[in-house]
Symmetry: C2
Subunit: 382 residues, 2 copies
């Protein structure tokens, strides 16, 4: 639907005649600065490099002007040749986000975008200022969207001045969730409820929790497989899921904060304050309560799932729920995320999006998609 026609080879059907522009496509240049060159940031850079020729043919020149890590950063020196050889031309200096943003913005009126792939609250504190200066911001970092309400409102207000703030990858990575909600609302639909499973880890644990093995053994397996955070309590607490719920609520215009979400942690209170090793050593204390929850679900003929729910009466919760075996959430694939929007138009049958909602590549793709959407809206500049 836009100019980035894919170039897939197809054994039987030849690739469509490449639709060459009959006039020069609108040329746009976008200066990009990446903050947080970790797993997601690196995957994004790989994706952007792979797409560069295609983007250029469609009229979009991306210019990577710098990368900032927590302690150091490099800035390109604005020489196109050097920029192309940026790996060799790196000059690392102490990180300074104000200087970094100023450099990416430049002084020639170009379009500029900062991509925050850190998980750092200090970076989020800069968004409103950057947007007010006309710098677009894209991030998979949930801290702005689910952080203090005042800061969020300041970011939204700043983004209304022209620069755009996008954060599709904050909820279920590359799955089309935030944009889908945005489109529903922008076309005049009304959100009645959101229900979902926003944690692949918790989905996997609930799917596998069938009474055959103690819950702690499943947690240990998930930990060994890399499905959990280094400290599994970061998943089991439900806090990360609650953040996603807050982001969706605010997207719908509801002034929800993290404190408003009724979060049921799977971590018993007496294990919450331990250090990570001590927690892992006492993991089997999760077994009895989880077995009891499973027994309740089975007595009701249902399944146990970890569900985030939000309705327009202000109720927001993240908890274990007993669902009927016929419920769509009962049949998701092991680590799948799922989001279900109930709206005025999608009332009897909600709209549902399902699939993997974590991982560097799909998260980076969600960020990349946001970048493309911003690029579509750029006016031609030299």
């Amino acid at each position: 639907m836009n100019a980035l026609a894919p170039q897939l080879e197809h054994p039987k059907h030849p690739v469509l005649v490449r639709a060459l522009p009959t006039t020069t496509p609108r040329r746009r240049m976008l200066a990009v600065g990446l903050i947080g060159p970790g797993r997601v940031g690196s995957a994004l850079l790989t994706q952007l490099r792979a797409a560069q020729t295609r983007l250029s043919e469609s009229g979009l020149e991306l210019k990577l002007c710098g990368v900032a890590a927590s302690k150091r950063m490099w800035l390109d020196c604005d020489d196109p040749d050097l920029n192309r050889r940026c790996d060799r031309a790196q000059i690392w200096r102490p990180a300074d986000l104000r200087q970094f943003a100023r450099h990416v913005l430049g002084d020639d009126g170009r379009h500029a975008l900062l991509i925050d792939c850190s998980a750092n609250d200090e970076v989020a504190a800069h968004y409103a200022g950057w947007l007010a200066e006309g710098v677009h911001v894209v991030t998979p970092n949930k801290l702005a969207g689910s952080g203090p309400l005042e800061r969020w409102q300041a970011i939204r207000a700043a983004s209304h001045a022209g620069a755009r703030f996008r954060y599709e990858a904050t909820v279920c990575a590359g799955l089309p969730v935030v944009q889908t909600l945005r489109d529903l609302l922008d076309t005049g639909d009304e959100l009645l409820a959101v229900d979902g499973m926003f944690s692949g880890t918790l989905a996997w644990l609930c799917n596998r929790h069938d009474g055959g093995r103690p819950f702690s053994a499943l947690v240990r397996e998930a930990h060994a497989l890399g499905y959990t955070e280094p400290d599994p309590r970061d998943d089991l607490s439900g806090l990360d899921v609650a953040r996603k719920l807050v982001i969706l609520a605010r997207e719908a215009g509801w002034a929800l904060s993290l404190d408003d979400v009724d979060v049921q942690s799977l971590v018993p209170a007496e294990l919450a304050a331990l250090d990570a090793d001590a927690f892992m050593a006492r993991l089997d204390e999760l077994d009895a309560p989880m077995a009891a929850q499973l027994a309740i679900a089975r007595a009701e003929g249902g399944v146990l799932r970890h569900v985030a729910s939000l309705d327009r009466d202000g109720r927001a919760s993240v908890k274990l729920a007993v669902l009927p075996a016929s419920h769509p959430f009962a049949h998701t694939r092991l680590t799948d995320n799922v989001v279900q929007f109930t709206t005025r138009r999608y009332h009897d049958n909600p709209l549902l999006v399902q699939g993997p909602g974590a991982g560097p590549e799909v998260t980076a793709a969600g960020v990349f998609g946001d970048l493309l959407r911003i690029a579509e809206s750029l006016e031609a500049r030299a």
Copy 2:
């Protein structure tokens, strides 16, 4: 994520402080002409009217310049006051699509959009010409996307010149399907397969076809409920589903045509040529073959579903399939559509979108979403 902040009331949580622009939003005017004021077109006009204030606050002025039906059309007289009272100021004249397009385009360099809500192939024949003249085109009409390949290629080539062609609502109405595929490809993913149930009618029939009642009784019930087309063969033939598959294949850059799709019609050959009444009178001739299919599915321990499939080896089919009871398609809600993308990134667990995929309101919302996406990309003009 854009300026069209929703204004939902929320009993507990006050609506977010409205983020008023601190600078004037970029002002864009878009002249719109609607072709085909049927159920979808009328629903769209209602949605656009309801959104007008919100759009205007975000800097987008929509100006409805005319409506064309198959035989007659009206054009506004370019007087803003009259335009606001267009219901009363209608002057119907014989339909002339060239004149209509010229009128909407105007001669003052404004942005112009034609929305084709007809189901008319003659309208689709105009798209390439309109796009070449700089008129954006949005449609839920499947005839261009699934029609002759040469015409499709001409449309794509014309749209590369600057004017944009969007058609989200051609596949599963308002569900985010075409854009989701577009985003996957544009961010560098590779499509490996599409599988789906693209007909709410056939999904309902398969879901209800449990051996309790003859298949013909279910078709009669669906017909009476308005779930089928006036002639149920338009659903049972699978042709409409095949058109959607062709649209998605071409979106992925594969040169598929309707003839390439292996379509299994549920209508026995001897009933295909009858007139509608004669067909309905002989509907029970569907019962034996459908009962046999169900018996096969049950013998295999599976469920019978009507599935569209496409893979990158060029195989495209629309047919009854026996799926394992654990398959996601086995658990869809009665009339739900479902689309599953298997890609390089979404390989083990595909990306799935599910929900109602037909109806005037959700189809119109899909069209409206396309309009908004085009509006986002418009440069400011007087």
